[in-house]
Symmetry: C2
Subunit: 191 residues, 2 copies
């Protein structure tokens, strides 16, 4: 799972193994809640296999905020960093294999990493990339129609369309399932 990062991290064998041992493998069923809204996040997860969504509660209706797939890391960064109640719930969509790391371990790991220039820069770039992603989503949400955003999803994140139930996709696009159904049938008829 983590072998692919070994060269990139370029740590001595001992340190690398120490970091590896912080991650704990776990297998979970679909619809498992990994973090509940309102709880303070003390764990992060890396996905080996499966698919996860983050959602927020809006007077009873759940709004999907984000999807995660193999290789991605998942958690409420805001809750995790600031020690505040999580605004989102994190839940598996498929049965999944995850690698869990505790906040205490990750905090220690990060504070060490921040002293190593090339890893520090990797970390900062990672944060920037996430910022750029959210900017893109926000801009798209005020600029594009739901149909356009659905087409973008098909093009840029085909995984989502293939593996995720449609009502989650609809709420992620900010529309109803009925409307998404209409968009699909309209597209099927040839634009």
């Amino acid at each position: 799972m983590f072998e692919q990062f070994k060269d990139k991290f370029n740590l001595d064998e001992r340190k690398w193994n120490e970091y590896l041992s912080c991650f704990h493998r776990m297998e979970v069923a679909s619809k498992t809640t990994l973090l509940a809204e309102g709880k303070v996040s003390k764990k992060m997860f890396v996905i080996e296999k499966g698919c996860i969504r983050a959602w927020l509660n809006n007077n009873g209706k759940d709004i999907t905020a984000q999807f995660f797939f193999e290789g991605e890391s998942v958690g409420s960064i805001e809750s995790f960093m600031k020690n505040i109640p999580s605004p989102i719930t994190i839940e598996t969509i498929e049965p999944s294999i995850l690698w869990m790391i505790n906040k205490t371990d990750l905090d220690r790991m990060l504070s060490e990493i921040k002293e190593i220039p090339h890893l520090r820069d990797m970390f900062i770039n990672k944060i920037f990339e996430r910022t750029f992603d959210y900017m893109k989503y926000f801009f798209s949400s005020i600029r594009d129609t739901p149909q356009q955003r659905y087409l973008d999803l098909i093009k840029d994140r085909p995984q989502i369309v293939k593996r995720v139930p449609q009502h989650y996709i609809a709420s992620y696009l900010g529309i109803t399932t009925v409307h998404l159904s209409r968009i699909k049938s309209k597209l099927a008829k040839g634009d």
Copy 2:
């Protein structure tokens, strides 16, 4: 302008003055373009007085992506960091007093700052805060109605409603000026 940060930065007098001298004061008229879409950003600005917007072109129509006021720093971070064409245009709304810094100076400053733990952490926190902001905007855009987002704007960022022409606000909310007008008159009649 920058005195307020002196304690927080906690640098020796010589370094502090060296950094200060990188910023150049400029006064510009309203509707001045500070960065045009498609150009690679080589400058960042800090606002002493005035108000600025960032917008993107969408087949001729401009969509306002963000507003900036006194004390905030402005630029296309993505263009600036990655040396790519800017996806946005940055333009003053009011006559403004700005402090400009060149990329070469800022790059040098940042690489020095990244070696000083408390400044590095301030920098990383700053990036995280920006990420959390965009997350919030994105979530709100798929969760809330335009009317709710307008009410949030009044509550959270009253500056915008007071100082910014209405058609910019409308495009920032992702709606037309006509619709924003309707929302306002509906609210004026008592919800």
